[in-house]
Symmetry: C2
Subunit: 297 residues, 2 copies
Amino acid sequence: MIAKEQIADQFRALQLAICEGLEDLDQGGSFQEDPWTLHTGGGGKTRVILGHHIEKGGVNFSAVWGPASDKLQKMLGKQGDTFFATGVSIVLHARSPHVPIIHMNVRYFEMGDDIWWFGGGIDVTPHYINSDQAKSFHQLMKDTCDKTDSSFYLKFKSWADDYFYLKHRQETRGIGGIFFDRLSTDEQDISKDQLFNFVMDVGNAFLPAYQIFFTPNFEKPVTDHEKEWQLYRRGRYAEFNLVWDRGTRFGLETGGRTESILMSLPPECIWQYNRDIPADSPEGKSQALLKKGIDWL
Amino acid sequence: MIAKEQIADQFRALQLAICEGLEDLDQGGSFQEDPWTLHTGGGGKTRVILGHHIEKGGVNFSAVWGPASDKLQKMLGKQGDTFFATGVSIVLHARSPHVPIIHMNVRYFEMGDDIWWFGGGIDVTPHYINSDQAKSFHQLMKDTCDKTDSSFYLKFKSWADDYFYLKHRQETRGIGGIFFDRLSTDEQDISKDQLFNFVMDVGNAFLPAYQIFFTPNFEKPVTDHEKEWQLYRRGRYAEFNLVWDRGTRFGLETGGRTESILMSLPPECIWQYNRDIPADSPEGKSQALLKKGIDWL
């Protein structure tokens, strides 16, 4: 059975492989690395690109451990003396409004001797939704899930719809993807190694997923109107991350490294009061697709 | 003893008087008004200016009522069948980085027959801190408080330091001001009418307070560097409002009118990973003053 150190090693390698792939796509920028440590144990490497086509991208790796605080145990409703957490987390904001914002996360958590789980997912936030590309992306997510368990895709797709949801706007963050948390062997006929392989498959699906949207779109001409819409939609991204995202809020409330957590925020955004979005405009048509339960396949 | 309808009337008049004063200062823009209703009772008028010197400003009035939900009663730790809430709330983002962001709120809340309180405050978030102007502002806050109770200023100044605080940045939102909540007659030798007069004094201090910062600064020359710093600091304002501000979060979580609540967000802002802020630069000197407990007088 895979040990936590091996999981962390594989995640670290995943971070580097993804960064290399993104530098190739970007054709100009390169990642800067900031190592950091946590006072209770471990640390991370935050890698940031301010690139040519990728306006701002962050690829975080961390592996941290320490005594499990009362607050953590209470929050999880479980007991354990120590915790260990490792993960890779990514958000990319491309320069072009025709390239979606993309997010990926894989993580592993342990507490005490008996408690462990995996979590993660990939989701996509296009400024302009292209149904064909959305379909290809969801097909890739389904294929990635099906390799391990044919029940995963529908379950995790629906979980993503629920998780990446702005309640105060009654809209999804984008076209969703997959999301899963506290994935363990408790109720499933599946081994820890199989779950780890699944999580690595998700991690390895990130670059192909991004290419579905990046390659056909990054060189498309851009109007001022499209650029403005991008800045406006990025405001919603900031709202989701700061108001609803449990990972972000947990990190900020428990003294995580702020600059690494908020790396996900857009490089630039605007808020406009009561913006008029005509229903038959490209913006209105994309906006109308920000809802749960769409079968993209 | 003043009745809730009278309080709402006075708040409504305060909103209009402040809007008139701001249109005079702006020398070009005018407020647009959006009336809205709450399904349980009452409603509000959201007034927004996209002005000449005031890039984006919102002045909200609301008076709402309805049955007190279990959630509300639980949150307040008090019981009552119905609630009534009225208030005025303002955030202004000036075009010039030399003019601070300013916030003012006055509010009155009632539940059932026995529970009522006032809340409110004014606080200022300069992009560049000028100690003389900060002192004049705090003197005005002290004078406003002293008219009613000589203990108020120190108590409410310290409350503002604690409330307008970004824990994840370990910095205050700005130079503070005054903040108070659940102000009632329970523990004080003071009448409800006196408290209402105090709250109206705070409301009426808003325009003079803004003028302390606006008048000497709105026409100052602006460099690109100063403009960029303003956009960066506005990001912190968005962080505070979306992550920490209890009023904003309560509104978003309980189905308040999103566009009125998020009117406070900046028209435009930027996030930069790990921005370097040299300690001896004007930006660094302002940043160093973002801490609790400064005696501006």
